[in-house]
Amino acid sequence: MYSRLFLPFVRTTSNRFLSVGSNLKTTLLGLLGLAICVTLYLLTHRSVGYFQSQSELGIILSMKIYQMAWITIFAMLVFSSMITGVSTLYLSSDNEIIVAAPVDLPELFRMRLITTFIHTSWMILIFSIPIFFAFGPVFDSGPLYLPLLLVTIPATAFTACAAAILFVIMLVYLFPARRTRDIIFYLSICFFIFLYLIFRLMRPEDLVNPEKYGQFIEYMSAISTPAGSWLPATWTSNLLSSYLLDRQIDFLLLGLILLTPLVLIFIGEFLMARFFLSGFSKSQESFGGTYRFRPPKQMKSAWRWIFRKELISFLRDSKEWSQFFMIGALVIVYLYNFKVLPLERTFGSTYVSNLIAFGNIGLSGFLAASLAARFVYPSIGAEGGAFYLIRSSPMSPARFFFYKYLFYLVPFTILTLVLIGISNHFLKISGPMWWISLFGATLICWTVVAMALSFGAIYADYHAENKSASMGPGAVFYFFCAITYMLVILFTGIKPTYRLVRGWLRHDGLVLFDTLMVAGWVGVALVLSALIALFLCIRGVRALQPG
């Protein structure tokens, strides 16, 4: 009787994986997953083994990392379950069928809880097992470590998911579902940025220096202080670490870990029956938008409207603009890496910093290419069903394409210039390398933006539900081509740049022959980039023309 609501989930999953041609894909994905698991196991085994072999401090550090890993995974699961939970419980399209049918709310709760748990946890479950399992051989644990792990990982993950769903039911009872989802989304982004920044700012590279362990453990202790004994992740990490170190099983903790999910299910069923319908009723109310926007300014030119449309579509979509936080964190860490480079301890630091500045052209290009894959590539497909407006208008596809290119070119150029300018400042770069890095990075940025837009037009998916869903094989092909192009530009530039910079550093001036070589490379790079961009743009514009 209870299995009836699972039918769409089970059949959808099996039809997806068993459809024609998917066997090979499933096998390849399985092999890839296995390879990742093995790599994670080996990496963790090696790192934990290294710490453990150092001293008493090494063991403490390993255990701290173990506890941190549990708490981090638990927090990740809580946040992702909350976001998914709002969607599956309140915003699912099939709610119109299921809620309109005589289905008991506790039954619906169990179905949504289990499917949300599977959706949000399967990847973390699969990939966390090899990480935690690697601690076993290092600490020479007993035979029960793996069974304990296999029981506690799903139980703890289920607890995280159930707690998140309970919280969601209460939140949506108080606030509209879409607003709740947005708030949780921002909170989770902030949380992950916090984790990312704090991890980088801890300078994990110092771990190779045992003298700095003490300082590192202080850091770890400081950030893990809020992990109280009431957290299920702490119960699990305490249970497993006591077995790892002393081969002792705390059955009270084990019972607590296994019983908590059941208790949460009972509480959830009660909350569902009491609060769901009211929250669901509210979640369908599209009248929350009482906020009125200002009437638009009169703008005659089409390019201004296209710019405006792109900008407001971006700024009014919280999933899009909130990624600025992630980009901000990326930029901070990017620049921080240059700030903390131990150049003063390096022999020939001026040469090394110039070499790094040259490599930085590739790094900033890689960042531009990645961001273009996320933002520029899907921008034409994102026109979606509304693209007929452009196609049926008197605006030529080439003009539309050019306006789009200009729109994205400005922020990408600013970002590249900021990255190169500030990292050159940290590297104390002056002379020709400053200009070469500026030229190389800007040229690569302009070309990869053109490439992303062209590939996005050629492989546009106008039916994709959202921008992330429109990233198909075309995006992978774009990325491959963009990286190949960058490598060609960089490799052809190594020798002329090296000669010019070496001469400049030795003689404090420019050597004519070396300058001409660099000028030749600049010319070749310019022509090559222009040809690639032009060829792809023409193909992209053709793809936009009605077929």
Partner: protein, 262 residues
Amino acid sequence: MSEPILVTRQLSKQFDRFTAVNAIDLQIEQGEIFGFLGPNGAGKTTTIKMIAGLLQPTSGSLSICGQSMADSPMRCRQLTGYIPDRPFLYEKLTGAEYLSFIASLYPGSSTKQTLEGAERYLTLFDLHEWRNNLIESYSHGMRQKLIMSSIFMLDQPLIVVDEPMVGLDPKSAKIVKELFKTKAAEGTTIFLSTHSMEIAEELCSRLSIIAAGRIIASGTVQSLQEKAEHGAENLEDLFLQLTGAFELQDIIVALRKDSTKN
């Protein structure tokens, strides 16, 4: 006289400060095809969602076959089949799997019997050969026909339909109209929301017109035409008069003037 199938008393729904449905009273008898008309944003879909149990009324009451929606929501849902205007279908299920799933959601009659009924409708709608194909390969009309089959097979006393003919070819539309008539003759009550005056005129025994959340007229097509101020010739004229679209005449005159100027 048998008990009314659907009764609403002062049924209202408020979204923040906006009143979508304002104290509507309806009483619909067994075997009626009841038309629910209104301009865009009048409150039709909100009312339908309340009848289907998808929205909770802010105030007022609603009962189906004598069962109160507030007290026995499960029983009311058991008695009501709902066909939304933009129906959701699981893309990766086959048509047959989808029907089995829907049959399982409505216990009471035997699933086997229900699915036998489904076979009949699938054949009627030319969907039988497609029943084992994934829904993602269906056209818009085929999806509409599948969701109709899924509700007709349940044989419930009340069927609530929001815009039933969208995307249907003339043959399928004719079949649906005949099905509505047959079902009504067998005792099923059909609550039909539509923008098509022809369909309402052809099918509905009674109708209500809703505008700005209030019922502004109720009765048979004939009785409403008689009540109309300027002697409406058909339902469309009547609808336009009642929903304030009489300015339409002025707009048409102004447009014609503009075109002669140009």
